[in-house]
């Protein structure tokens, strides 16, 4: 008890002492922070170009794609060696759809991507890459009115020779501008058991077209084809919504289009649900290139037995145009069938589920006419020679009107229903399916051509590459998705054949964002201004800092070639005269040195760092 008073005093003293210590520590911390910040500021004010100042930049790729990851690492090593310590590249993986989200918000400074065309026409490259508002052009914030006019002129040109010349001119200009870094055009790469017959690679297919496939007696089970695919679900089974290859593969085997590719050729179209491919000579296409008339094949039935008519054809296109999903593929028809197409948005639904389309039935009726029960006419708003190619794409699949109408038709319920159901005229019908597990296709015995050789197809999702290798090796699957860097594994595997050598139309590229959205950007990862890539010198530096030969020979194991621009080899409009960029770090340095800093960058960045630092502490 007696000791309590001095103890209290003691406690009071130690409190004071504590306060003094805390204040001292805070002061020291503040001084240290100030010194650090001022030090940084002093350093950053010296340089006037991006080579000497250096920069932090985040480069994205979609996770799981090891080839693109390597591509990122290659450009990282190239760039970082230009000014070691000052240039810092961070490689960040993103899941595919997250990639799409980031892309929409413009938050990626640089990203590795690949483009697979929807239809075999150069316009399907120039539009997304260069036309203002195109898929990639908008992602990287690229606008060029002159170029827009050139692309439009080329797309509408009816004379092939002149058209090819126009594309060559664009390609040459774009080589100079260096908007993208073109890294590789892949060859096909299909790992199959040697008992698989009838494989014909067409660069326009979504993976496999099972109708032509069969298995020899060497296989234990000759009627069921098993494919071990990568992890990924179809977004939708509805051809007016789905716009990716997992769903695309199902669509191309269950549904059919008016015209289709002839074997391995992407440019030679054959009639499918039409009786002949319209041309100007046979009168199917008007001389001005504005009307396309199709005679619909009679005697074709949907797999439920209802006959396919011109009404079904019109209905299929109407429901896509009216729904007009901005994420979906119907832009390719809308842009030539609906005047001022890009002014219209997606349909909305009332709470009761009634559709309120922006593109109305009347507008569709003006574009697509049912002339008689087996004739359909499309009225284009402008000449578009690529229109026939677009009709071969999955989005042009003919759905059964009676089937859709029975399950909701053009209403919210109808579209929801069609996202999980399929009813087509194709060689297969959809069997059972399970999310994250498998899709099963069964032979359509009621098919209008010779029924398929395969009775069943099972496409199973096998996320782990090691498991796919084992299954293929064991012969439990007939084909498997194997990454290209595992080419030697396939060569060492008995009973397995690697089908490769034909160029695909897929191009890999590095996108450079000219209008970077820096909202929420972390300066440790990205500290460049939003118009960093608007400077051509920066883009050229990037193009020269990529080790193309290593990427193609080592990473892709020689199953690709270096593209010279957006239009791939084998495609109409490709020109071998367009040069390619070489890996040259000296040139890259020169270009980066020529890229001057915008005025006032240095002091602003120091302030940003302080703000960012404080923000981090608060968390």
């Amino acid at each position: 008890m007696e000791g309590s008073a001095p103890a209290a005093k003691k406690r009071g003293m130690s409190k004071k002492l504590l306060a003094v210590i805390v204040v001292a520590v805070l002061l020291i911390a503040a001084i240290a922070a100030a010194v650090l910040v001022l030090g940084n500021q002093g350093k950053s004010e010296q340089a006037d170009n991006w080579l000497d100042k250096g920069f932090n930049l985040e480069i994205f790729y979609n996770s799981g794609n090891t080839a693109r990851q390597t591509a990122c690492e290659l450009i990282k090593s190239g760039l970082e060696s230009l000014n070691p310590g000052k240039i810092k590249i961070t490689v960040t993986p993103l899941e595919w759809s997250n990639y799409l989200e980031y892309r929409k918000t413009g938050k990626m400074a640089a990203m590795f991507l690949g483009w697979a065309p929807d239809y075999a026409d150069p316009d399907d490259y120039l539009q997304p890459f260069y036309l203002s508002g195109g898929t990639y052009a908008s992602m990287i914030g690229y606008n060029n009115a002159t170029l827009d006019a050139m692309i439009a002129a080329a797309a509408a040109e009816l004379d092939d020779t002149q058209r090819a010349a126009l594309y060559k001119e664009i390609s040459m200009d774009m080589y100079e501008e260096c908007i993208y870094v073109w890294t590789a055009q892949a060859n096909n790469f299909a790992a199959q058991r040697n008992w698989v017959e009838g494989y014909a690679y067409n660069p326009m297919y979504s993976n496999l077209y099972y109708y032509s496939l069969s298995k020899t007696e060497a296989a234990a089970d000759t009627t069921t084809f098993r494919y071990a695919s990568i992890d990924g679900n179809a977004e939708s089974f509805d051809p007016v919504v789905d716009y990716e290859t997992v769903g695309g593969e199902l669509l191309q085997n269950v549904y059919e289009t008016l015209v289709w590719y002839n074997g391995t050729s992407s440019s030679d179209l054959i009639p499918m649900l039409a009786t002949e491919v319209p041309t100007i000579e046979n009168g199917g296409i008007s001389a001005d290139g504005l009307t396309y008339t199709f005679n619909i094949r009679s005697g074709v039935e949907f797999s439920d037995g209802t006959p396919m008519t011109a009404e079904d054809v019109k209905y299929s296109f109407d429901r896509g145009l009216m729904y007009n999903d901005p994420h979906g593929p119907f832009w390719m028809y809308g842009q030539v069938l609906i005047p001022d197409y890009y002014n219209y948005g997606m349909a909305t639904f009332t709470d009761a589920g009634v559709m309120q389309p922006e593109i109305t039935q009347a507008m569709c009726d003006a574009a697509i006419w049912v002339v008689d029960s087996d004739t359909v006419q499309f009225n284009l708003t402008q000449p578009y020679p690529a229109f026939l190619s677009t009709l071969a794409f999955n989005a042009g699949s003919i759905v059964s009107k009676s089937y859709v109408e029975a399950d909701g038709g053009l209403s919210k319920n109808g579209y929801t229903f069609m996202s999980t159901h399929m009813m087509g005229t194709g060689p297969f019908v959809l069997g059972d399916f399970a999310t994250d597990a498998y899709y099963n296709l069964d032979r359509n015995d009621n098919y209008w051509r010779e029924p398929a050789a395969l009775a069943h197809v099972i496409i199973s999702q096998v996320p782990e590459v090691g498991t796919r290798i084992l299954q293929l090796q064991n012969g439990d699957v007939d084909a498997a998705a194997i990454p290209r860097d595992k080419k030697t594994t396939l060569e060492a595997m008995e009973g397995v054949v690697l089908r490769t050598g034909s160029p695909s139309f897929n191009v890999d590229f590095l996108g450079l964002n000219q209008k970077l959205n820096l909202t929420g950007a972390n300066p440790d990862l990205t500290n460049v201004p939003s118009d960093f890539f608007a400077d051509k010198n920066v883009r050229l530096a990037f193009a020269h800092a990529f080790k193309y030969s290593t990427y193609i020979e080592n990473t892709l194991q020689g199953t690709a070639l270096q593209p010279n621009g957006a239009i791939p080899k084998g495609m109409f409009g490709y020109s071998a005269d367009v040069p390619i960029y070489d890996y040259n770090l000296e040139k890259a340095k020169e270009y980066l040195k020529a890229a001057k800093l915008p005025a006032g960058t240095s002091s602003a960045s120091a302030l940003d760092e302080v703000v960012a630092a404080i923000a981090r502490f608060e968390l």
Binding site: T66, E73, S77, G85, L525, N554, L619
Partner: protein, 326 residues
């Protein structure tokens, strides 16, 4: 931790003469831990502990000598040099342990990875264990409302999936090593808290605690002098097992895009980077090889690292807790 608590007990016993006899009884009932000096003798004669200690010290020496053992060439020494070619088998010039994904030098990664792994594992596990120990002990001992509140708080954190916490923290802060460790601590401590609480629940009913209560020891004193030290043995087991587990969880975070980036010298990351090569075949000198070396060496290092702490932990427990020695 346990050691320092012990020495303080000894000092206070000496000064407080009036109740010495009862103290002696509690001291008799309570399992005693020898002084540090004696402990060292015991460790020396405990072959498991010695083996563990040797393993750990070897790995620490590797980490310290990394710049000598594998001189860095790139901008950042923590990134493994790569030649972007197919994996090459071990025991070839320049690549003593072969190369892996993107032609990364396995030897370099194994050496420098020692640094990363030691930092991640020790930092995460020890911090989490300390937090868990305090929360669990207080909760288990005091019971009632305190227990209820602390345990619900623990439950909240325990119920947050590790992956999601790591993701959220990585998205809000930066994707780097420090934030990954921070995320791991946040998801790791609650399991220690529950473990300790369970242990304390049992021990607080035991005779020596009853005796300590009988002599009027303060609750905090009973808790941290009597109960906590005797609850440590399962904690040590958990820690030793977790030290390796953290390295693997860190790897799985890296694998899906959080944590350290690809190519960083971290054993777990090297394992997940090399995953695709496990059943593959690569040609070298005219023959096909299955690149077993890509995953095996970093995985072996993780195993040795875990084993080192586990052996040491077992040995320590035998020494610290004489009940299991008898």
């Amino acid at each position: 931790m346990a050691i320092s608590t012990r020495s303080r007990t000894a000092a206070s016993t000496a000064t407080d003469s009036s109740i010495i006899s009862i103290r002696d009884i509690t001291a008799e009932l309570r399992p005693r831990i020898k002084e540090w000096k004696n402990s060292w003798d015991l460790i020396r004669h405990n072959w498991t502990a010695m083996m563990g200690l040797v393993l750990i010290i070897t790995i620490i020496i590797i980490a310290i000598l990394a710049p000598v053992l594998a001189p860095p060439s790139g901008v950042d020494a923590m990134y493994i040099p790569r030649d972007f070619d197919l994996p090459k088998p071990p025991f070839i010039p320049g690549h003593p342990l072969g190369t892996g994904e993107m032609g990364a030098d396995i030897y370099y990664g194994v050496i420098w990875g020692a640094r990363t792994t030691i930092v991640i594992s020790l930092y995460v596990v020890l911090t989490a264990a300390l937090v868990g120990l305090v929360v669990g002990a207080i909760s288990g001992y005091y019971g009632g409302v305190i227990d209820e509140v602390l345990m619900r708080f623990t439950d909240i954190f325990l119920s947050l999936p590790a992956l999601i916490m790591a993701m959220a923290i990585a998205s809000i802060l930066t994707r780097n090593l420090e934030n990954m460790m921070f995320a791991l601590i946040i998801v790791w401590w609650p399991s220690y808290a529950r473990l300790i609480r369970g242990q304390v629940l049992t021990i607080r009913e035991s005779t020596y605690v009853e005796a300590a209560k009988a002599i009027g020891s303060k609750r905090g004193r009973i808790l941290f002098r009597h109960i906590v030290p005797n609850s440590l043995s399962p904690l040590i087991v958990a820690i030793t097992l977790d030290l390796g587990a953290v390295a693997l969880v860190a790897a799985s975070l890296s694998y899906i895009g959080f944590g350290v980036p690809s190519g960083y010298a971290e054993w777990g990351r090297m394992v997940s980077d090399g995953q695709g090569w496990f059943l593959a075949k690569v040609p070298f000198n005219g023959a096909y090889h299955t690149p077993w070396w890509v995953v095996s060496f970093p995985a072996l290092m993780i195993l040795l690292f875990t084993m080192g702490f586990s052996l040491l932990g077992d040995g320590l427990r035998d020494i610290l807790d004489p009940r299991s020695r008898r």
